[in-house]
């Protein structure tokens, strides 16, 4: 059970406080409700580039990192298709420094031309390092547009191409900030060795004076139902063939999310899981294989991805995956097997509650999705999943016409 206090400032900023006195630290996590799905299709990668610019100085503070490092703090941020999340940790006595820094960059940025120019280059190098200079690194750049035809999940957070990032101008950056960054479009979570009264005081002092901003209603195109199998073949300079299968699933807040998650666990969580035992250990068809969900807020993807063992053909590998998928979609799992994956979920939740920073991020995500307290009721939702739920969810997911398959060929 994670206990927390919650309040909302007049400007709409939601604040959550979780006390964990086992650490001498405090974490401040600021989640903005803006992700790469909100981008203009001609300006993809913008939300992520913008995240970089948030470190380029704010209206009253020329350098974000230095004052934080001076008080023993550390920070980072990430962007997903759904959100942009900023977090930092400081020794508990220096919590106010965090409020000072975070509130100033919510108030306004310095919008420096130099920072934009440099960060454009940094992001382009990031693009190359992570997507082009790694074996199999560009998979998602091709798999997303194969699976999504209308919805903005068709591009990765890094963007569709380097060219779209190269031409970003400063006035676009400004417009983006005032359109999406606002107290009424963010969730602040403070966790660790902190007192709610003090957090309340600091929040009102530093964030209270920031005015509410007009946030346009989100109106994303819906992805039409897929009606036939899609395939794509790529050939690259990699040592082994690999296969990527993507199935459309529901959104994060659907009841069915929990059974879908457990389906992926039956298939591939842990070494006793079905596809690990059957396809790696028994039949030696893959050197690695995994089944997992993207966990996106909007209707997401269920992935099955594997690297083929030397000498195994795509036909054989793919048929073997379908055998396992058809099996779970037509035959009931046993009580024992379902109990096992539920035990694993419960255990991983207990382990994840060790980190005060982890808890802060999870509280923020749950609050944005509906209610921070869902962090405490999730276990119950997993427990409720029945044998029939696993069967029905699998049958709905694992249909050829719901599948996009990418064949990643090793150049011979």
């Amino acid at each position: 059970m994670i206990e927390f206090d919650k309040f909302t400032l007049e400007n709409g900023l939601r604040v959550i406080v979780h006390r964990d006195e086992t650490t001498p630290m405090a974490a401040v996590n600021l989640l903005y409700n803006i992700g790469s799905k909100d981008e203009d299709p001609e300006r993809t990668g913008f939300a992520h580039l913008f995240e970089h610019l948030m470190f380029g100085g704010s209206v009253n503070i020329p350098n974000y990192d230095e004052p934080l490092q001076l008080v023993g703090g550390d920070n980072n941020a990430w962007t997903s298709n759904d959100v942009t999340n900023y977090y930092l940790t400081v020794p508990k006595d220096n919590l106010e420094t965090a409020f000072w820094l975070e509130s100033d960059r919510m108030l306004s940025l310095a919008f420096s031309e130099k920072s934009l120019e440099v960060q454009r280059n940094v992001v382009i190098e990031e693009f190359k390092q992570r997507y082009f200079n790694q074996p199999y690194g560009d998979v998602w750049l091709h798999l997303r547009p194969l699976a999504y035809k209308k919805h903005p999940y068709q591009w990765s957070t890094i963007g569709k191409s380097i060219e779209q990032i190269e031409t970003v101008q400063l006035d676009e950056v400004k417009a983006f900030f005032f359109k999406h960054y606002a107290p009424n479009n963010a969730i602040l979570v403070v966790s660790g060795n902190v007192e709610t009264e003090n957090v309340k005081h600091l929040a009102e002092k530093w964030f209270g004076p920031i005015e509410r901003r007009e946030i346009a209603e989100r109106n994303l195109p819906e992805e039409p139902e897929q009606t036939e199998l899609r395939t794509l073949h790529l050939e690259r300079n990699v040592p082994f063939d690999a296969i990527y299968m993507a199935f459309h699933m529901g959104k994060r807040t659907d009841d069915e999310f929990y059974s879908t998650d457990l389906v992926s666990d039956v298939l591939s969580n842990g070494q006793s899981s079905r596809i690990f035992q059957k396809l790696i250990k028994e039949r030696n068809l893959f050197s690695s294989i995994d089944a997992y969900l993207t966990g996106d807020f909007e209707p997401g993807l269920f992935l099955v991805t594997g690297k083929l063992s030397e000498g195994v053909s795509f036909e054989e590998a793919e048929a073997a995956i379908w055998e396992e998928l058809n099996k779970i979609a037509t035959e009931k799992v046993t009580d024992y097997e379902l109990q096992k994956v539920k035990n694993k979920i419960e255990s991983s939740l207990v382990f994840s509650e060790i980190s005060y920073l982890n808890k802060a991020m999870n509280l923020a995500t749950h609050e944005l999705l509906g209610d921070a307290n869902d962090i405490n009721t999730e276990v119950e939702k997993y427990r409720k999943v029945s044998i029939d739920d696993i069967l029905n969810t699998s049958a709905k997911l694992f249909r050829k016409e719901n599948c996009s398959t990418l064949y990643y060929h090793a150049k011979k």
Binding site: E126, P239, S272, S288, K340, S347, I354
Partner: protein, 434 residues
Amino acid sequence: MEKLYRNTAPEFKTVDSIEILGDKRYTLSNDIPVHVINGGSQDVLKIEFIFDAGIWYQNSPLVASMANSMLNEGTSKYNAAEIAEKFDFYGAYIGFSAAKHDASVCLYTLNKYLSQTLEITENLIKDSIFPQKEFETILLNKKQRFQIEHQKTNVLAKDEFSSLIYGKQHPYSNIFDESEFDKLDINTVKEFYKTHYIPDNCKIIIAGKVDQSVINKLEELFGKKAWSKKDNLIHAKHEIQLSKENKSFVCKDDAVQACIRIGRPIFNKTHKDYTTLHLFNLILGGYFGSRLMQNIREDKGYTYGINSIIISHLKGGHFVIVTEVGSDVCKAAIDEIYKEIKRLREELVSDEELNLVKNYISGEMLRNLDSPFALSESLKGNLPFGLDNSYYQDFIRELKTVDAAKIKTIANNYFQEEDLKLVVCGPEDCRNSI
């Protein structure tokens, strides 16, 4: 309303000392030392069994790592699938790792399932049988991973750099050819297991909610119960061979970036100047505010990241700067790196900068040593040096005595341009950069 001064930083406190949850020590009846770090809010345990069974002790490549991985693959009591089934059912995790000197088996478990999960752990440590079929699968999959890894410029650059500073044959390099996978004999691996995974060669670190019943269980399974006897192993000596070459280029034609490594062998953390070296490293490339990160990423935009690190091995160590840059700016990036090192040789670091890194590193220690699990990791790293986690308290005390002159001395004594090895891995057009 309080008046707000947004351009003035709030007051802050520096971290002058850190409280560290110490380890309690026990000895099992067969003399295995047990270190206990008791704390945390969750009913969970991390129990790590550490053996002198790392790469240092093997006579040919892959032996230590295969012996370690095979512990999960079958005992006379349970086959591999049954072992996996049991750990998964109890929501436990079992991890295996073979490092330079240590090899370990690490159990993460909920307290309520300790007896079940510890019993399987005991079984696989004492009674693994190394089935042929599992051996072949594990080896083949390791080989595929090796082949994929060796497509990466940073892995190729790392191998080349290690061979320059330790020599190709040295365990700290751990460089070997793909063909070794086909040569490996299961009996060699099995023999290694039998001679190295024994009580005289073992220590245990437990972290989490540890009460007497946990200690008792450990004594029952690992102290009292039969376990194979001691063996007088004679280990090969490994001599470091520093290359005379100072520069090396590894060509990877399809790369879109160049991976740069610049560094040298350096003393380990038992040396009297280690704290000063640590600060030198921080200032140069050891955190986001470092000179290299600020210059090469935040000013020039040549890279997504650049870092320098110090690796302390038991019998040696090295310092290295690592980055991946656009191939068109490879030469420019290397020049800037040398320029920053030169600046540290010639100019004193300002009080302001020195003060900042001292505060930063103190905060970092506080952050990294705040949970029993994290402390157990640090303890594992410190014990071989004859240290425990009170080392960090000494470090913070020592930190206060380091001044700009000491850092400049370190820079001059160890970081002259001719002391440094340079490796670049990238497309052909980067060859001229070195």
